[in-house]
Symmetry: none
Subunit: 387 residues, 2 copies
Amino acid sequence: MTRARIVGTGLIGTSIGLALRAAGWQVSLQDPSPTAAALARDLGAGTIDDETPDVVVVAAPPDVAARVVAEQLERWPGAAVTDVASVKGAIASGVAALAGPGSVERYVGSHPMAGRERSGAVAGRPDLFEGRAWVVVPTPRSAPEAVDAVRALAAAARGEVVVMTADEHDAAVAAVSHVPQVMATLTAARLRDRDEHAVGLAGQGLRDVTRIAASDPQLWTQILAGNAAGVREVLLDVQEDLAAALDALAALADEASTSGADDGPHGERRGEHANALGGRYAPAPGAPGARAVLARLLDDGNRGRALVPGKHGGAPTAYDVVTVVIPDEPGSLGRLFAEVGDAGINIEDLHLEHAVGHPVALAEVSVLPAASDRLRDHLRSTGWRIH
Amino acid sequence: MTRARIVGTGLIGTSIGLALRAAGWQVSLQDPSPTAAALARDLGAGTIDDETPDVVVVAAPPDVAARVVAEQLERWPGAAVTDVASVKGAIASGVAALAGPGSVERYVGSHPMAGRERSGAVAGRPDLFEGRAWVVVPTPRSAPEAVDAVRALAAAARGEVVVMTADEHDAAVAAVSHVPQVMATLTAARLRDRDEHAVGLAGQGLRDVTRIAASDPQLWTQILAGNAAGVREVLLDVQEDLAAALDALAALADEASTSGADDGPHGERRGEHANALGGRYAPAPGAPGARAVLARLLDDGNRGRALVPGKHGGAPTAYDVVTVVIPDEPGSLGRLFAEVGDAGINIEDLHLEHAVGHPVALAEVSVLPAASDRLRDHLRSTGWRIH
């Protein structure tokens, strides 16, 4: 049986303990706070003892992770040691500088791509890593056995193992995690200037864009500092796009402020096609170009967004959607699914629209494109209304 | 009984129709596409006829809204006319220029702060506006009776009426809607440079920040152009914050790249507190200041985020979500729905997560809170795995 030691029993450490226990591993727990370690033990994440581990997981904050890794390498001379911090190059350099001779080979970085809005052992769950990427980051000096031990750990915790170099990892998380954090922060920071009335108009879009702006400033200062070069590189490109957008907006604002001047009498204007949004009468030179700049940027955003995988890590796939009207009575959905099953068609995704007070609901049934016409025909022939 | 006419039966128009019908109003529907109007009618949003309305709602794209408002003012000389576009100053100028003499007094702008990532009549719902702000924007020339009519409309659709001038409105939505759109777009646009591997590391944070980057570029070009001055003003402040963050990151990246040079022998280093994240050995002058810049920005983001209102009553209803593991084989969903029906429980909403290459899918079944424990017990007892 494999024995793991977990150093740091917050959300991630506790979840790893729970996941490894579920996989039949033995787990020892350690935390600077005895209370925190005891809580994780009581939650079933492991035991508190000094059994010799095969692999040690350092789940400590990024600014102390390298030091704790070095300590663990020294304390357990037979164990592979990994950390789970969200920057990897800086930790690896720190370990290389701090670790005793002949021990740095047992260090392999890792980064499970999982987290929750909540923190602490109580929020831990054994399925936190299920189906999510767990990046394993060997250093050039990592021994193959150590890499295998950390891969086995990630797989036992049910993560999907992805191997990357520290540079690859840090560039990737800059784009998919650290820069989004900065952008959410920049957006939220601007709300401080607004009165309550204005912020009261916020909708789901603002809530989504700014949700992670509530993240811990101390932790994120460490993360951004630890990946400063990678984050900066992406943000420089953002800065360039932003400057182009600002130029376009300046041209459009000019156009709008000058276009009011030469409104003709009403009679001449009515019936003409008029673009009410600036430039309706005397477009300033360059303003059509300004719209094109914005449209191209928005389109780039569409294309980037389309690359973002769905909730459970699957590649986005294009399905055809068949929209079926469902009478709002118990058993209707059961009948629909029985019909779909009869047609031998698999439902790939499904969304049910059911608004309170609405006489009918709509089921949006996603199927492989090849099956959609057949499904529509089959459902129509059996009396369903298709939209 | 009040009679409304809705011109444009997309998501918003159809939802207004459904909401007004639920409030006992009579509703006539009109759309340039007869199919779209018929769909909204079939969904219960109103009838297709030429009855004289008391109030007309123009739910057309922003670049034609002013023209359509002017046409409706002319066609229905006794009706108040409003639009629902998300910019107000530009539409009001357009209406003032295009409307016939003596009719501009019957125009009052409005902007219901509701939307969904999905569009079209099929996504319409009668509770879309419930508990959300519905901004009513009189022009200096609006007649009091017209303002009252539009306020009554917004209240009947269950929006929370907020009265603002066009300038107040446009400045507010720049900060809470238009700039967040630009920021989501800028973030998503950078993902195009990344390989699949990198984007595969995305988590919920990236999904949230970039969700609205999937918005329609044509519509958003119109919106941003229509509020160019307001959006630009906020984005100039963002540009300043971004420049400060870039300077801080440059200092930290310099520090990290030079700090490796003077690593002492291991023996001297071990046991010391070491900050693994840059500046661990010979902090460059100014680097502590750089961390303070980032920390202050992140803290500003915290404070801005804290101002964002929650879903307070705005969410149609809070349901409990029961997550059920579905074997990926034809007929599984049918069996699930049969079981739910057997338990006498109505499904209020449902989302199926089905990732390619994964052996199982997850069905997120929303039910009334009072029913969720019973549903969990029933499904477990009949052999389903509940997450």
